[in-house]
């Protein structure tokens, strides 16, 4: 699993490559929490190269999103989510908590 973070004018994009499971989720959570603690609250998560997403990963994203929305300070937007990865988010019922955008550049421009 690899995480590449880029800072843009009004948001940060986070490209994750590989698996999001019980092994990698704590590392991703820490990277996102560090950004939030550093006052970066608008997060575009590019999942185009994610090949697996488990319930642990979904719940981690849900908890961060709830934290951002509750404090009205920002949000997670997902971009380029592969169909099979989206299928698990939809199965969890949490898809309504997030925006999904087909193109990462367009997602960055939303902020």
């Amino acid at each position: 699993m690899e995480i590449i973070i880029k800072e843009h004018q009004n948001c940060n994009s986070i490209k994750i490559t590989g698996r999001i499971d019980s092994y990698t989720t704590p590392k991703i959570k820490q990277a996102l929490q560090t950004l939030i603690d550093d006052d970066h609250h608008n997060l575009v998560l590019d999942l185009s190269d994610v090949n697996f997403l488990s319930s642990t990963g979904i719940l981690m994203f849900v908890n961060i999103q709830k934290q951002l929305l509750k404090n009205k300070i920002g949000k997670i937007v997902f971009s380029e989510v592969p169909d099979l990865v989206y299928a698990n988010i939809k199965l969890s019922g949490f898809q309504q908590l997030f925006e999904f955008v087909d193109n990462t550049t367009a997602a960055i421009d939303r902020f």
């Binding site: 499971d21 019980s22 299928a87 199965l91 969890s92």
Partner: protein
């Protein structure tokens, strides 16, 4: 029939996924079903580490894959504490997002993605979880 033993830690999950994907592809499942089987087994193994062993590297996970004419049977065994799925509340995915319980999503995934999910426990052999996916006719 193929049997493999993995250390009960989260680092094993990637190797377990590779093993399961290979077996599911060999059995002729389409990419959607292969991903469903991969997810169910990953959730099952995470549950074994979290709830049966209650920590990493406290035992092994033995996975047996048996292809039958119309289905794939995957049996996972561990020697952890007895796991009773009835102890885990079912998530109500129609409840409000704020109030939704987060425990039990892994079992919910397993039950939704597989055709049969059977939990058994014996003092002698430990936990046995059977996951069955039917082949589409």
């Amino acid at each position: 029939m193929v049997t493999k033993t993995f250390p009960g830690n989260f680092k094993s999950l990637e190797l377990i996924s590779k093993f399961i994907v290979k077996q599911a592809q060999k059995a002729g499942f389409n990419p959607d079903d292969v991903y469903a089987i991969q997810t169910a087994v990953d959730e099952a193994c995470s549950n074994i580490i979290d709830h049966a062993y209650r920590g990493e590297d406290l035992g092994t996970i033995i996975i047996k894959v048996n292809e039958k004419e119309n289905s794939l049977h995957i049996v996972l065994r561990d020697k952890g504490k007895p796991f009773d799925p009835n102890d885990v509340p079912q998530p109500n995915i129609n409840s409000s997002l704020e109030n939704r319980k987060e425990r039990g999503l892994g079992i919910f995934f397993m039950r939704n993605l597989m055709d049969q999910v059977i939990f058994e426990f014996s003092e002698e052999k430990g936990n046995k979880l059977t996951l069955v996916k039917n082949k589409r006719s």
